[in-house]
């Protein structure tokens, strides 16, 4: 099963209060040298069947109409080959 990743980011000109909050916290925590932080969202879609042009077009459509608010956000769509199982599950250590 192929994985398609949709990254959604606020457009560069849009204020990002969350990113700013992270950036302000960094020097307090002793992490110097970060000039700017922008925070976004990442969606991982496990696709049934082949990831052909038609499937990608469908994913772009769903990203545009549902995953991203294109008034204030941009998105990118990319295919992650044979990703299934390659990534360790996160958050398992709690």
């Amino acid at each position: 099963m192929a994985r398609v990743v949709v990254d959604v980011m606020l457009k560069p000109e849009i204020l990002d209060p969350q990113g700013q909050a992270v950036q302000r916290a960094l020097p307090r925590l002793g992490f110097e040298g970060i000039a700017d932080v922008r925070q976004g969202k990442r969606f991982e879609l496990e696709v049934e069947g082949p990831v052909d042009d038609a499937a990608l077009a469908r994913i772009r459509e769903l990203a545009e109409s549902f995953l991203a608010n294109t008034v204030i956000e941009d998105f990118t769509v990319r295919v992650e080959e044979s990703a299934a199982g390659a990534t360790a599950p996160t958050g398992a250590a709690r």
């Binding site: 606020l10 849009i14 204020l15 209060p17 909050a21 008034v71 204030i72």
Partner: protein
Amino acid sequence: MSVDTTKHAAETPDTPQPWAELGLKEDEYQRIREILGRRPTGAELAMYSVMWSEHCSYKSSKVHLRQFGEKAPASDAMLVGIGENAGVVDIGQGYAATFKVESHNHPSYIEPYQGAATGIGGIVRDILAMGARPVAVMDPLRFGAADHPDTRRVLPGVVAGIGGYGNCLGLPNIGGEIVFDSCYQGNPLVNALCVGVMRHEDIHLAKASGAGNKVILYGARTGGDGIGGVSVLASETFDADGPSRRPAVQVGDPFQEKLLIECTLEVFAEDLVVGIQDLGGAGLSCATSELASAGSGGMRVELDTVPLRDATLSPEEILMSESQERMCAIVTPENTERFLEICEKWDVIATVIGEVTDGERLEITWHGEQIVDVIPGTVAHEGPVYERPLARPDWLDALQADSAAKLAQPANADELRAQVLALVSSPNQAAKSWVTDQYDRYVLGNTVLATPEDSGMIRVDEETNLGVALATDGNGRYAKLDPYAGAQLALAEAYRNVAASGAKPLAVTDCLNFGSPEDPAVMWQFAEACRGLADACATLGTPVTGGNVSLYNQTGEQAIHPTPVVGVLGVIDDVNRRTPMAFREEGQLLYLLGDTREEFGGSAWSQVVHDHLGGLPPKVDLERERLLAEILVNASRDGMIDAAHDLSDGGLIQAVTESCLKGGHGARLVVPDGLSAFTFLFSESAGRAVVAVPRSEEVRFNDMCGARGLPVTRVGVVDGDTIEVQGEFTLPLAELREAHERTLPELFG
């Protein structure tokens, strides 16, 4: 990048400039050239274009708004009138209240969440700039048809935006309205009201005086938000196929705003500011030109010192940016260091960007080169003023002749019962708790009354229990039928709502939402509404303290119903003496105050049952409204009534249903002699309220009404768990509750 300096502009008079793209008309552009004696620089053109836009200059509405000042009743309560960031009224015990309603209609259609959120942020800063601590907000909202797919996009976003921003800021949302009508389909109305409280001596005004004083910009960094937003968004009609131009949407940060509030109140408390102004529409263009023109001298600003979020912004863009959560203060050199210290303590960026001069010009430089050199008043106040052509719409006679009297009335008790259920479950009359439950109504711990009560009430002083009450109302259907009467009815209803809760109405704010002023029919509606509202304010003795005009609310040729939204502020000496709307005790007597006539034009009944709009709105009788209010306030103070609810859209049955459901008790109603059951239940005659009177107070209450000449009719008793209209039908409260409360969750949940 070469900068268009004033010197360069003088040398190149023939350089073509994008005045049309910035929303200016050719004669306006020529006027700017005349004022300056040369072509404007790019930065000057940016400033003039935003400040001369409809939204900032009120160029179409000004000639009509003057009446609010000219006809204003003499009122001892008025401390600061129209023209400042917000009006201020005396509420006694050394306290003053400041309140104002504004629109954020167009941004909320494009991006509902951020549009509505930044609407709250903007009005809160207006109140803050007067020196007051904001204590509550309210939101009068209008959406398209409840079952339209786009309403499903717009409404949840707007509601989440209001809730998200207001809740994060920690301000209770105590009232407002939600109305659905297909005329608002492409043009929802998102109005926001804020009220603040201060001591008399803490009032601050927006002016820049004293040569050598520093101009300090503080709050968020400046980014590309809403550039051209004012001129493009608020002053242009949307194309029928939706928004095509998309300037960067303003994104609000309520936590930054909270810091700004606390920081600003602290600099006020230490008396560190000479003048102050919030940055809203038109951003720095507005703040610098208005502060400078209100003061005694000129101003010099080094624009390159403005802290930026995006280093690539041009000077024009910095001047036009509508980045949120920014304020501008004028501070003496001695106090500047302390001012900056306080900002630093609150983690608020503050920068000296210029100073007040003893000249008369506003001069702005960019890395040492002069890019703006103007008389600030020409930017801020001497914009064009239009006497737009007015014409009574040619369709109005036919509309008014299409009387609601000819509509089929229920033929029997079963039909009457079914229509009651249809009414109380219709989107406009149904419970709004799905929306208002998303707002924090009790944060700060001083909310005495909140939605769905007739008015929102806030305790101002915890020792004396002094309080203020606020209500907003506006009925676009009435105003469509007769804008003069419609505006008066909006005022009358808000006034009545404040009185019904036991507070004495003091002052008015208004948000006038209309279509395009370039349409003579719309302009006539606007003129009539202003005339009606100003006349009514004079009669009721409640001056307009400020407000906002929103024009161009239309999609293609189709304008919204004229929608004057009126907010009334009242004062109550002891909030423990308030009157809630709920029927709380069995056996109490229900009285109907006022006269009931066969008035169904523009009524909720005609809309719900017949989808009809025609005829004339209910008759306006302002002397009666005043008398009714006095009786309600006196009865509340003297403990003669236990509940009161104003009668407005939906009529008596709507009011009784709400009061019964709120209190968890039923009512037995008797149709008074001379009225049909139908008229009794559904008529929307103005100047009426229903009250619950304890039996021990019956004689005293009747005597008072009799002595003052207010018609009063005993219409029933609080009893049981049904609403029974004797001889007609019985409706169990459970059935009514289910009908009344399921509508909005089903549509939007």
